[in-house]
């Protein structure tokens, strides 16, 4: 037995209109909830954006549709549904730039591709520079981006003010804004829609999306993966793709190998909704916070990880405070805004702050993790590249630099070095 495809109603204004006439009684399930089969060609662990995208591109680009995506909770409930959705591709190193720009290109057509409005909003992303070192590093990154075919501009302080009229260039006086990198094609997207849109398309092609199904162990024979143990019983698999974000080392240890990742809480917060006040994404590493405004009107604010290691999906109180200090520094007019909600997710951080997309010591088992604080933006690209890697059973041009072996060879892609930014 294999999973069955099921053609979906197309989403468009006309469909909405027609369904309105029948009082929305005839909308079908966006994805179904089948019981797991005995075995699949590929089992993807983790129903976040990356896992679902992997399944989607495996089905669409590689003709493998007998797939199950296993999610321990509800799809998109991990970091996909918790992140602050900054999308940009202006990374310093060639390997990262290639990966994130690959994703950026897919983002630009994703709403049509999925027939689901992921609200990808290219409102531009600024990374501020507050001292001479920042300026130098920013210019270096902008130059590298430019030559990598990525839209990236260096703005001086006046240029920043033009794009973000609300900013206090004095930076509160302590760390004035000296300039910024600006990527006009960067922006934000609707995180939930990304998970749901991929899920719907996966379902259409016959991929099984199995929620409330936690992987608890692996069946490995002679170094070859044969299946997974789950809370819904054993499920056989010819290949397994692990995409578990905050829990990658947990799964790796079930499979008998270790990862060089640390799991940290990463928090974010939103204000109450207000009428439009800021049209771009503004990030500052030196003062340390970033901000954008959602289409709902909330200011979406975040910063860096909590320094301790934890699986508790909540943040500490001091970090939210420090983040708001930084925001009030750059935007003193927001002091009277009110925090509506703060939350946290668990992110897996590699020593070089770059992800791992790799084959593993277990045959037939592949791993995609370590995206740290900034993997949402990579979702389509990561899924696309990882699917190709799984289908071929070997690294592709895009995934090869991100192999696990780089920690042995020393070929690191150090994106948290001086010249890079988080998220």
């Amino acid at each position: 037995m294999v999973a069955q495809p099921a053609k979906k109603q197309r989403f468009n204004a006309l469909a909405l209109f027609r369904n309105a006439l029948s009082y929305h009684q005839n909308w079908e399930q966006q994805w179904r909830s089948p019981e797991p089969l005995e075995a699949y060609d590929v089992v993807i662990i983790g129903g976040g954006g990356h896992g679902l995208a992997t399944a989607y591109y495996l089905a669409k680009e590689h003709g493998i549709t007998n797939i199950a995506v296993l999610e321990k909770g509800w799809i998109g409930g991990g970091n996909t549904g918790r992140n602050t959705t900054i999308v940009r591709s202006n990374y310093l190193w060639d390997e990262s730039a290639a990966m994130y720009e690959h994703a950026m290109k897919l983002w630009e057509g994703l709403t049509q591709e999925l027939n689901y409005n992921v609200m990808f909003s290219q409102r531009g992303v600024l990374n501020l520079a507050h001292n001479l070192t920042d300026v130098r590093d920013t210019q270096r990154r902008v130059n590298a981006n430019r030559l990598n075919g990525i839209d990236s501009i260096y703005l001086d302080a006046a240029g920043v003010k033009k794009v973000v009229p609300g900013i206090d260039l004095r930076g509160g006086g302590r760390y004035p804004v000296m300039g910024a990198s600006y990527q006009p094609r960067g922006g934000t997207a609707r995180h939930d829609a990304v998970a749901w849109g991929y899920a719907r398309k996966c379902d259409e092609m016959g991929v099984h999306i199995i929620q409330n199904c936690k992987v608890t162990g692996f069946d490995i024979e002679g170094g070859v993966v044969k299946g997974v143990q789950t809370t819904k019983g054993r499920i056989g698999a010819k290949k397994v793709g692990m995409v578990p974000a905050g829990h990658s080392s947990v799964l790796a240890s079930m499979a008998g190998f270790r990862l060089p990742v640390e799991s940290h809480p990463l928090q974010a917060l939103v204000s109450e909704p207000i009428k439009p006040t800021i049209d771009t994404v503004v990030m500052s590493n030196a003062v340390h916070a970033y901000i954008s405004q959602s289409d709902k009107g909330e200011l979406v604010i975040g910063a860096g990880v909590d320094q301790y290691i934890s699986y508790g999906q909540r943040g500490s109180q001091h970090l939210a405070e420090e983040t708001l200090v930084a925001i009030c520094e750059l935007f003193p007019q927001y002091k009277r805004m009110k925090m509506l909600r703060q939350w946290g997710g668990i992110v897996d951080v590699c020593p070089d702050a770059s992800p791992i997309l790799t084959s593993t010591p277990v045959d037939g088992m592949y791993l995609n993790c370590g995206w740290g604080t900034g993997g949402f933006k990579a979702t389509p690209g990561s899924g696309h590249a990882f699917a190709a890697h799984i289908a071929k059973g070997e690294p592709t041009e895009l995934t090869a630099p991100f192999a696990l072996s780089r920690f042995e060879t020393g070929f690191l892609i150090d994106e948290h070095g001086a010249a890079a930014v988080a998220h």
């Binding site: 590298a144 003193p332 150090d414």
Partner: protein
């Protein structure tokens, strides 16, 4: 306008103080003690806002912090710029004289709002419509569609200019924090106070009393007011008690770290607030050993068709407006209830002379309240449903009908009852937010149809009492307050005091609800057709939306929330979540506890950014560290550069000089005569102990054991990954003591890195580290005349090159100041770094300047320092390195002790890739045109790859980048340093630097030393 709906007497308002305020441009009056909501209602104003999505007219529905509809912007006039505040709950905003307010989300005005067109289109824009439509191209989305959505969304308007208020942060420590000063919390505080614990009692309201402010029943034979006053007096007299009113406990974090927002001056009349010396708000961070939650409960409404019309409110709110504010919410009221307790509102309304009808959805209604109402002659319909509310900007009538036995359909004739307000109640939800924030779970109590606190969890559990525990009788609440405090005292190891026996009059508060839960009132048409059943008022989520979500297989409560936006409004589901769960449980056919709740996250209610940020924004964001000579630099025209937290002199322009000219002059002075640099900011760490040398041996790549006392050595520090992390010179002060220097920006990092190793990895080493960065001031004399100058001020040390060699240090007296002189050089010239105690820094500096005048001594800043060191090819960690470069890459293999057992990073250096000849390596870069100064951060490409434009469409392979670049007078041309793939072996090769302006500049890779290649000068 006159206050037509104000009762002639009663309430906790001060009728002697009339306060004027404006709402949407119209002036109204109210009384001291009013909220904006109660004052508006006193003036007969119900329509106060427009909903988020459909722009439906909305009225005040609650009398508290949970209000979803009545949001207002405050301080809205041009004169009040810098104080405007968006989205305040009118029900929680104290009235003050001169307050200006405005409704939100309505254009052009509240009465006629263009956005209401959305309401007409409601059928076509159900939950999640935007996922299924508007599938336009990315460009169209951002340029055309999104701006429309963004303008329609959002509620209030934020200020454009910086907030003028001050905010403060406080730290508190308490044995016990009690949250909520209603009868339960007061009773708990009383017991805790008597037991001798340090008590903090936190109350968000303006005064203590909680539910007693709305319902002043007798306690212990006393009038409620008197009882509250008695307890307050008792607490005020106790030195161990602190009562914080107007203070909201917003968050509970790990280990009972609590946060609380105190509103200090917001309630003052506008002029008084401006003159008040206190901060606008205080942000309290409280460490509590024990926490008792006495936060009470929220009422929830029944869900019926058109239940969002202005004038439809919670039954308890009607009661609060009557009793606490002396305000009638209308003249003809209909009460729609499913429980006994809510009927007390109908009684109060009747007492106040309002025409009252009761519609009770229960098949039987028999409690004392029912009997009273019947006795009062109030029309009382049981087993009836409210089919539909009628009206536009105000409810005008209710259509009611009898129901079948299981409450799923109407079973008789509909009839219309006129009314100008409806008070509705579907029961009560204990306020379990803080309990959940502390990490504990919830249990569902089917008899009261609500979630109650589950078993406490974690190392520091909170204790719930009273209403928030699901105890709805006043006597039970009072008793639980006392016992909660006693439990906390036991946990603290204190002898718990006996509670003074208290009892309230039973009849007023029976406590039993006899609730019938009908989550969606039956009507004549399916929920999806004709009219809407509102669940989340602000976000416009209807019962049909919830059903649609389930139909589309959004079954997890989190999915439903995200798909419909239920519970994501500013009230965070306080008024909607349980009703939604009830409706969903019917649709999904599972019990409410099986659906579960979404996560309760901090803050409990929206919390002001500025208060959380406190005093830090502005100059206090980060300390500005300055050297003892800072004032001198400032007086002599220096510009400063931020390096880490330090302000370092960058360059000292003279009149008419630009940066280039000033730096050039400073550099020439050093090479030709003598320059002086304030080097005080370099990190300085004393490494002391019998194993000090071994310690340095492990943290630096080179060898340290044999370095003699009085000698200095340059060291490179690697991270575990084998990459360069810091550098600096360390000097042996004694057999067991070194003085380590670090980079200015890296000092703190290095210290914690070293401590980390000492404390966790090398516990066998006897070494102590002390930062002395700020204890020493350092003046660095550089240049051929340095010795001549110094010898004029120092006669107790022989400065001759024979007896004081390069890389040695000596104790000396300079200008009468005890000093340490180090012969180390970052310029490649003859140099003496003179260290003196920090408080003597200025004296030393001025003495050197005075004596140096005849040599033309020139102060130079960091920019000249960078040029000078670049002329010598000396690296700057963090500029020429970026965390991805190892010593081999920097052509510094010489600094790795070949036969050392170990040092941090050694293992990583053995990895295959670390010695790959094609790694990026450190080189000099010279432009073909000696006048062209390359921009730092420019990239290098092979000649064959030179791009045709500044922004090529596809990637151009890059070879490396320019890390440092300057004009060098000493070299007589521009010089640059950089990192290039395989660069060390490629010296002499020509590459291209594609400039941002599109030019391709030709460069040649060279050695990294541009001046004094043999290095003679520094030994001079």
């Amino acid at each position: 306008m006159s206050q037509d709906f104000r009762l002639p007497a009663g309430g906790r308002i001060d009728r002697s103080e009339r306060l004027n305020f404006t709402f949407d441009g119209q002036t109204f009056t109210g009384y001291r003690g009013d909220t904006v909501a109660s004052a508006l209602l006193a003036n007969g104003v119900h329509l106060v806002g427009r909903s988020f999505k459909y722009h439906r007219p909305r009225g005040i529905v609650t009398a508290g912090v949970e209000e979803p509809n009545a949001l207002i912007d405050c301080n809205i006039t041009a004169q009040e710029k810098g104080t405007r505040e968006a989205n305040n709950r009118a029900t929680f905003t104290e009235l003050r004289h001169g307050l200006t307010t405005k409704s939100v989300n309505a254009f052009p005005n509240l009465n006629f709002d263009i956005g209401e067109i959305n309401s007409l289109m409601a059928r076509f824009i159900p939950a999640g419509f935007y996922y299924k439509s508007l599938l336009v191209s990315t460009g169209m989305w951002h340029r055309v569609v999104e701006p429309v959505i963004r303008r329609a969304a959002g509620l209030g308007v934020t200020d454009e200019v910086a907030d003028v208020s001050r905010y403060d942060g406080h730290y508190l420590h308490a044995d016990i924090v009690i949250v909520g000063a209603g009868p339960t919390g007061l009773q708990a505080a009383r017991v805790a106070a008597k037991s001798g614990a340090r008590v903090v009692l936190v109350e968000q309201d303006t005064e203590c009393g909680g539910s007693l402010l709305r319902d002043p029943v007798e306690i212990d034979g006393m009038d409620a007011d008197l009882w509250v006053a008695t307890v307050e007096a008792e607490l005020a007299a106790a030195p161990n008690v602190r009562v914080l009113t107007r203070t909201t406990l917003s968050g509970i974090f790990d280990h009972n770290m609590l946060t609380a927002l105190e509103r200090v001056t917001d309630h003052l009349d506008v002029q008084d607030a401006a003159d008040d010396h206190r901060p606008r708000m205080r942000w309290h961070r409280v460490r509590a050993k024990q926490v008792v939650l006495a936060t009470g409960s929220f009422e929830r409404p029944l869900v019926f068709r058109n239940n969002d019309l202005p004038g439809i409110m919670f039954a308890g709110a009607v009661e609060t407006y009557l009793q606490r504010y002396g305000v009638k919410t209308g003249n003809t009221g209909l009460f729609l209830v499913n429980n006994d307790m809510a009927l007390s509102a109908a009684i109060k309304a009747k007492d106040a002379g309002i025409d009252v009808t009761v519609v009770d959805v229960r098949s039987e209604s028999t409690g004392p309240n029912t009997e009273r109402l019947m006795a009062m002659g109030v029309p009382f319909l049981t087993n009836h449903t409210l089919v539909e509310a009628k009206g536009g900007k105000r409810v005008k009538a209710a259509v009611v009908a009898p129901m079948n036995g299981d409450g799923t359909a109407i079973s008789g004739e509909m009839r219309t009852i006129e009314c100008d307000f409806i008070g509705s109640s579907s029961g009560y939800n204990p306020i379990v937010h803080l309990h959940c924030q502390s990490g504990a779970k919830l249990d569902f109590d089917p008899t009261t149809a609500c979630f109650v606190p589950g078993a406490p969890m974690g190392a520091t559990p909170t204790i719930s009492a009273g209403g928030c525990k699901g105890l709805f009788s006043l006597n039970d609440a009072l008793a639980s307050g006392a016992s909660a405090a006693q439990e906390a005292m036991d946990a603290l190891g204190l002898q718990a005091a006996e509670a003074t026996v208290v009892s309230a009059s039973e009849e007023a508060h029976p406590g039993s609800l006899h609730i019938r839960h009908l989550w969606l009132l039956p009507t004549d048409k399916p929920t999806s057709k004709g009219g809407k059943f509102w669940v989340d008022f602000q976000n416009d989520v209807t019962a049909a939306d919830l059903q649609l979500a389930v139909r589309e297989n959004f079954r997890s409560v989190e999915h439903i929330k995200r798909y419909t936006t239920l519970g994501m409004a500013t009230d965070q589901g306080k008024t909607s979540n349980i009703n939604a769960l009830g409706i969903l449980s019917d649709v999904l056919g599972v019990t409410i506890p099986d659906i579960g709740t979404t996560t309760f996250r901090p803050p409990y209610t929206p919390t002001t950014f500025g208060a959380i940020a406190g005093r830090e924004p502005g100059d206090f964001l980060d300390v500005a560290r300055v050297t003892p000579m800072h004032d001198w630099h400032a007086e002599h025209g220096a510009l400063f550069e931020d390096v880490g937290q330090w302000k370092r002199a960058w360059y000292y322009p003279k009149a008419g000089e630009n940066m280039h000219a000033a730096v050039d002059r400073e550099c020439r002075a050093v090479r030709e005569s003598v320059g002086i640099l304030d080097a005080s900011t370099l990190g300085k760490i004393i490494v002391k102990g019998p194993d000090a040398a071994e310690f340095l041996n492990r943290v630096y790549t080179n060898k340290w054991m044999k370095l003699g006392v009085g000698r200095c050595r340059y060291g490179l520090m690697l991270g575990e990954d084998g990459m360069i992390m810091d550098d600096g010179v360390s000097s042996r002060v004694a057999e067991d003591e070194f003085l380590m220097t670090t980079t200015t920006g890296g000092a703190a990092n290095v210290l914690s890195h070293l401590e980390d190793y000492l404390q966790t990895e090398w516990t066998d080493l006897k070494v102590y580290l002390t930062s002395v960065t700020e204890q020493w001031a350092v003046a660095s004399l550089n240049g051929p005349k340095a010795r001549a100058l110094l010898s004029e001020l120092c006669d107790d040390v022989d400065l001759s090159p024979e007896s004081f060699k390069f890389m040695e240090w000596k104790e000396a007296t300079v200008a009468g100041i005890p000093a340490r002189i180090f012969r180390i050089s970052f310029t490649g010239d003859l140099a003496f770094e003179i260290n003196v105690p920090a408080d003597k820094g200025m004296a030393l500096w001025t003495a050197l300047m005075t004596a140096g005048a005849k040599y033309g001594i020139t102060p130079y800043g960091t920019e000249a320092m960078h040029v000078l060191r670049a002329e010598k090819g000396f690296i700057i960690v963090g500029q020429d390195t970026d965390g991805s470069l190892n010593p081999h890459d920097m052509d510094m293999s010489w600094i790795i002790g070949k036969d050392k057992d170990d040092f941090i990073g050694k293992r990583s250096l053995t990895r295959k890739d670390m010695s790959d000849p094609m790694r990026k390596q450190y080189v000099g870069i010279l432009t073909d045109d000696p006048k062209e100064v390359l921009p730092e951060g420019a990239q290098l490409v092979n000649v064959a790859d030179a791009p045709a434009s500044a922004a090529p469409k596809s990637p151009v392979p890059m070879q490396g980048h320019v890390s440092s670049s300057y004009w060098s007078s000493a070299a007589g041309r521009s010089i640059a340093l950089g990192i290039v793939k395989g660069g060390i072996a490629r010296k002499g090769e020509t590459l291209i630097v594609p400039m941002p302006d599109g030019r391709n500049v030709k460069v040649t890779l060279t050695d990294t030393v541009f001046v004094d290649a043999e290095g003679a000068r520094q030994h001079g």
